[in-house]
Amino acid sequence: MIFSSRMRGNPGLILTICAALLLTLSAAVDAITLKVATLAPEGTSWMKQMRKGASEISEKTDGRVKIKFYPGGVMGNTSTVLQKMRVGQLQGGAFTGASLSQVYPDAQLYSLPMVFHSHEEVAYVRQRMDDTLIKGLADKGMVVLGISDGGFAYIMCKKPLRRLGDLKGQKVWMPEGDVLTEAMFESAGVSPIPLPVADVYTGLQTGLLDTVAGVPTGIVAFQWYTSVTHLTDVPLMFLSGMFAVDSKAFKRIKPGDQKIVRKVMGRIFKDLDAVNRADNESARSALQSQGIEFVHPNRAERDNWESIAKQGRERMVSRAKYTPALVDRMLGYIREYRTQQQ
């Protein structure tokens, strides 16, 4: 009260305070800390690389741009993180392509089941389509600073799954709310059991589940391999990771610094492609060394798996709300690549 009465009587003081406030505000624009949440646990390649990028950015912008990470899901699940980004409590996140599909369905375009046979095919498509996804997310208010390979997911089971028919009667896990996996297994005549990732290990131990899918590094890190015996060596789906920042927050960074942030994080995520691929290779060999048997379905059986995925594709495209034209474009590039290889 004392302050307000004094201020009323002293316009000069009010002006001074306003000027000071403006200065403070402009200082805030000069120096910004982006708070970024992720489910990636500390100690992972993702965290190590992103921290490396953050310290390089801080150094190159003379401390004007800092990135503070909240790893391991401490800020909640994806929906919570997105909500916190909307209210400005967080400025960004490192997400899976699938989880960003809440904002922009095509973010999980590359995860359509059984469309890719190899990393080379993925690289060919990504070179031609990453920019489209980045633009799609930009239209939804997200600045994507990097996209990275997360690897191929494989099916693992307590018995060898050679034929599609072997899946019948299996207790198959699907990540809760994952419409793609649900649609794919439905096409194969199987009703998957929805569970959060956190419950899979126990589910395998208690016999609630006997069939799961994951990338090799995940299967090792979460110790699921201790309860299964076979891995069907056919890439089930490709996974990606994305580092996205709220565009309003990003615009508060000075243009010159924006360039630095994009350049450094872009490079870091490119590096992650190679790191993650090597990690997954190493994890595959570790699984073999621990006695997990790799099952290789023959050509005819593999075609069978793919044809089921193909049959269900329309359902997946509509259920996952993909843009059909983008799906066609991706499939076109894959055909193009395969023709070139023949």
């Binding site: 646990p41 990338v215 995940g218």
Partner: protein
């Protein structure tokens, strides 16, 4: 979706499990059998040393001495176990160069493996087998085997830590956990309750989102504190570093570490480890603001 974030764990960062973890028991008396009272006194002097640098510089002589004894008596289980402990402890506590650390940890692991194989043929045959087979043989160990079991398991943990960029190493962690669990079943008080300390670290590697159970880890840390009557300062350092950071609890993190810094380091067979614990507590506190 299918876990690509967590999937990218390249390195489950077990902290260097310090000298005291490996040295604190058994070793002195075993070496004594071979080398008499001199060695016994030396081991005790190492554990009670309050200047880590003295140990860093002096330990290699001791290691070479043990290599010599083992060469002369290659199936002497007590000597093999001592060699395993000393090499493991030295590698994790005093060697920064990664390549050297791997080399020394490798030696620790292989001495430990040889020690186990002297008396436990069936278990020896399943060390590299799939986890399910391995686990069936964990009960081959009984109360009298606890020093051997704990020594081998801790050397294995050190080896995994030194090779943590290699998934072929990381994948062996559940086997170490199974052995430490067996130690706890047989005699949880052994070595100041350090099997609980290992289990605390092993169970605080994954966030709950991926099936991790930090609260189980917390219970292990708390039990390790009880069993060492609060004298083992390394417990609270690892409690802060693994549990408090995993659950993002800065208040607890800083409180535990400040307690370590305010504690007396002198304790029988724990002085060296406690001095190192304080060094690490200081480093973690300095990094606290950046992490949280």
């Amino acid at each position: 979706m299918y876990l690509q974030h967590a999937s990218a764990i390249t390195r489950i960062t077990l902290i260097p499990l310090l000298l005291a973890l490996a040295l604190a028991s058994g070793c002195s008396s075993m070496v004594a059998r071979a080398t008499g009272n001199l060695s016994d006194s030396l081991s005790r002097a190492v554990l009670n040393q309050n200047d880590p640098e003295t140990v860093r510089q002096g330990a290699p002589t001791f290691l070479l001495m043990l290599d010599g004894f083992i060469n002369d008596d290659p199936d002497n289980q007590a000597l093999l176990l001592s060699g395993s402990r000393l090499y493991g402890a030295y590698a994790s506590a005093f060697v920064d160069n990664e390549e050297r650390q791997r080399r020394l940890a490798n030696k620790a692991f292989h001495y430990g493996r040889r020690a186990v194989c002297v008396s436990h043929n069936d278990f020896c045959a399943v060390i590299d087998k799939p986890f399910v087979t391995f686990k069936e043989h964990v009960t081959d160990f009984n109360t009298g085997d606890v020093p051997l079991l704990f020594g081998f398991a801790s050397a294995w943990a050190t080896w995994i830590q030194a090779n943590s960029d290699d998934w072929n190493a990381t994948i062996q962690l559940p086997k170490v956990a199974a052995l430490m669990d067996r130690v706890i079943e047989l005699d949880e008080t052994y070595n100041h309750g350090n099997a609980h300390l290992y289990m605390g670290v092993l169970t605080t590697q994954l966030p709950p989102e991926y099936g991790g159970k930090p609260e189980v880890g917390r219970q292990h840390f708390e039990r390790a504190n009880e069993l060492s009557a609060g004298h083992n300062l390394m417990v609270n350092v690892l409690f802060a570093k693994y549990y408090a950071r995993l659950v993002f609890n800065q208040e607890l993190h800083d409180k535990l570490l400040n307690e370590v810094l305010a504690s007396n380091t002198e304790a029988p067979e724990l002085t060296l480890s406690n001095v190192l614990a304080q060094q690490q507590a200081r480093e973690l506190l300095e990094d606290s603001h950046d992490f949280f």
